[in-house]
Amino acid sequence: MSDLSVLTGEHFMNGDIACAEGGLACGCRFFAGYPITPATEVAERMARRLPEVGGVYIQMEDEIASMNAILGASWAGTFSMTSTSGPGFSLMMENIGLGIMTETPCVVVNVQRGGPSTGLPTLTGQGDMMQARWGSHGDYEIIALAPQSPQECFDLTIEAFLLSEQYRVPVLVMSDEMVGHMMERVVIPPADKIPLPVRRKPRVDKDSFVAFAPCEDLVPEMPSAGDGYRIHVTGLTHDERGYPATNARAHDRLVRRLVDKIRNNAHKIFRLEESGMEDAEVAIIAYGITARVARRAMQMARERGIRAGLLRLITVWPFPEERVRRLATQVRALVVAELNMGQMVREVERFSGSTPVFSALRPGGEIQEPGEVLAVIERAAKAAAKS
Amino acid sequence: MPTIEDIVILEDKMYILAEQCKGCSFCIEFCPKHVLVVSEEFNAKGYHPPGIDAKANCSNCKLCELLCPEFAIYSTDYSLRKGAAARNGLEEGQQ
């Protein structure tokens, strides 16, 4: 890898730029995108940097074309990514589904903003979290990561590429306008310290290879177009040869495998960060930018004698059901802080058992004040004390 | 050098995948030498595959092959005409 792809050193850069640099550092050499606030900087950075490292940048005519172009590039054997925000994310949904159905690795960065519809183009939000999970039609599982800082934008974009190749699935980086536009210290390690994603190529020759026959972890190996394997790839329900098989039995087999591929491997996919959990009576669950507010609120709560802890979801999907279920039995109350009208809190409620769940919500535009989240923690602590 | 009139069609010059035929009649209609006819036979789907008019002279133009949407009809290569296959121990498809 050339020197220019890994800008080793300390930088002061915003989250969008850091996402682009993360992709470049781990080998992304194709970007197709469309301008949309607040994600445009990712595309602009890629437009400047990809020609420097021998990659290709193309501005497509819309987000639908962008999503398809990165799928095509992935099938040509290249690590590819795109970036967008809410309205573009909606446009990409059908073809994220194509990526899931055809098991095409790629990375989609969503720098969230206030929605719905055109909403608040220049202001933050976390309103696409459920859409990340359920936005495309049909049954599937997806992997989504939530960076809380420009450093994490760099690190988690790399993580996204690693996961997408490992599990042959599009991986979503659910950033937001605040993280995307804030400038912070980003440390880029030396090239030999950057983990590189590995495309799982077939180990047998073309006469023996069965295109969608899974390995033990339920993930099939993936040749590239032009390798001579002459495979057929379709968005239709297909059998292990890749041939369309539009019947209930084949559908059951395929959809279950696509879902189990992620579910069965979820324990290897989860990335969580816990603070103050050893003695916590109230646990805050948060992700992305609101996790930073929640952390301050946790400190303030501790100063007021409330034993508060923070579970930060770095992987938001798959959701860590077991951890939350266990956590609910270990604490007296749960608090979820997010910048939407209640999305991840629904997942928490599903696994909270009889432990009460409180939420500190705002629909976007501004992040909560730590005091707002503290107020909810205090309410939770009071309710917990009564029970 | 033989002319087209010297070529004698034998029925085993046309290879028809009868079960793949969907009876569209393109080959029958557009054969310039009127070699093909609608046959009396049915295939499993109820279509009549083409039959051969033994009196007609196939010139091996291969238009039937190109016009068949089903990849269901083939004519042998010119070099296998006039019993060359039997004499030279050649297989179908070899030149």
Binding site: A69, G72, T102 | K22
Partner: protein, 280 residues
């Protein structure tokens, strides 16, 4: 091409295919593989990308690396393939609805950019797979399931559209004109840049049956009788198709423009290295 050679190009284990009796898609597919067999191209480098519809099913029968993508999106998918691996010979094979209605935007931009690919459009004037709805190429007055009183929308003139957007090679033939169709496809495949071949095809089941062309054979005879080969200097704006009218066929243009990749490479050499020299 020898009979046994078909097996190199077609997934014969999936035949007979799903297309109706009298449908022309099989002819267009056959023409494409004849053209490929006569081109100087490695079959391992050929990629077929299709969309949704009857014509889109070609990808499933072609024994090359093939991608059956979502409705209208074959062209951007193909763009990604080609740009990531320029060695690939990318052929988009799809229908009129997929390429020009839902896919219209992608067509015009790929032509504008002169993306190096060949687009083969089977134009049967209808949405066949879904039972016969009108599309953007349906001729005026045609009866379809969504134009029960006769189509009153003007259709696209595809060669005109393609040329206006910048395609460097544009040809149209019908499924009757197989020899010319093969030749056009050969030229299109060999051509650098965005090449477009329109193949007029019967659809007896859902188009012809409602418009007095009850069989594929009737349509093919019509194509034979009513096609007019264009002469040099023909104004492509006159290439529109009406029910029962003449079909203009031939090669509408064959010109040269820099491709997207030509421009990309030039930019990389001239601009990027110059900037690096300045910085260094």
């Amino acid at each position: 091409m020898r009979a046994t050679a078909i097996e190199q190009y077609v997934r014969t284990d999936r035949l007979p295919h799903i297309w109706c009796s009298g449908c022309g898609i099989g002819i267009v597919m056959r023409a494409m593989i004849e053209a490929l067999s006569q081109c100087d191209v490695r079959l391992d480098d050929v990629v077929i990308v299709s969309g949704i519809g009857c014509s889109g099913r070609v990808a499933g029968y072609a024994k090359m690396d093939s991608f059956h993508t979502t409705h209208g999106r074959a062209i951007p998918f193909a763009t990604g393939l080609k740009l990531a691996n320029p060695k690939l010979k990318v052929i988009v094979f799809s229908g009129d609805g997929d390429l020009f209605a839902i896919g219209g935007n992608h067509f015009i931009h790929a032509a504008r950019r002169n993306m190096d690919m060949t687009v083969i459009c089977v134009n049967n004037f209808i949405y066949g797979m879904t039972g016969g709805q009108a599309g953007s190429t349906t001729p005026p007055h045609a009866r379809t399931t969504t134009t029960p009183y006769g189509n009153f929308e003007p259709p696209f003139n595809l060669p005109h559209l393609a040329m206006a957007c910048g395609a460097v090679y544009v040809a149209r033939w019908t499924t009757y004109h197989v020899v010319q169709l093969i030749q056009a496809m050969k030229e299109a495949i060999a051509k650098r840049g965005f090449s477009f071949v329109e193949a007029i095809s019967p659809c007896p089941t859902v188009f012809g049956s409602r418009n007095e062309i009850p069989t594929g054979l009737a349509a093919m005879k019509f194509f034979k009788q009513n096609s007019e080969r264009i002469r040099d200097g023909f104004d492509v704006a006159e290439a529109g198709i009406e029910l029962g009218g003449k079909i203009k066929v031939g090669r509408f243009c064959d010109r040269d423009r820099p491709t997207f990749q030509d421009r990309l490479v030039r930019m990389e050499h001239e601009v990027v290295s110059a900037e690096r020299t300045m910085e260094g």
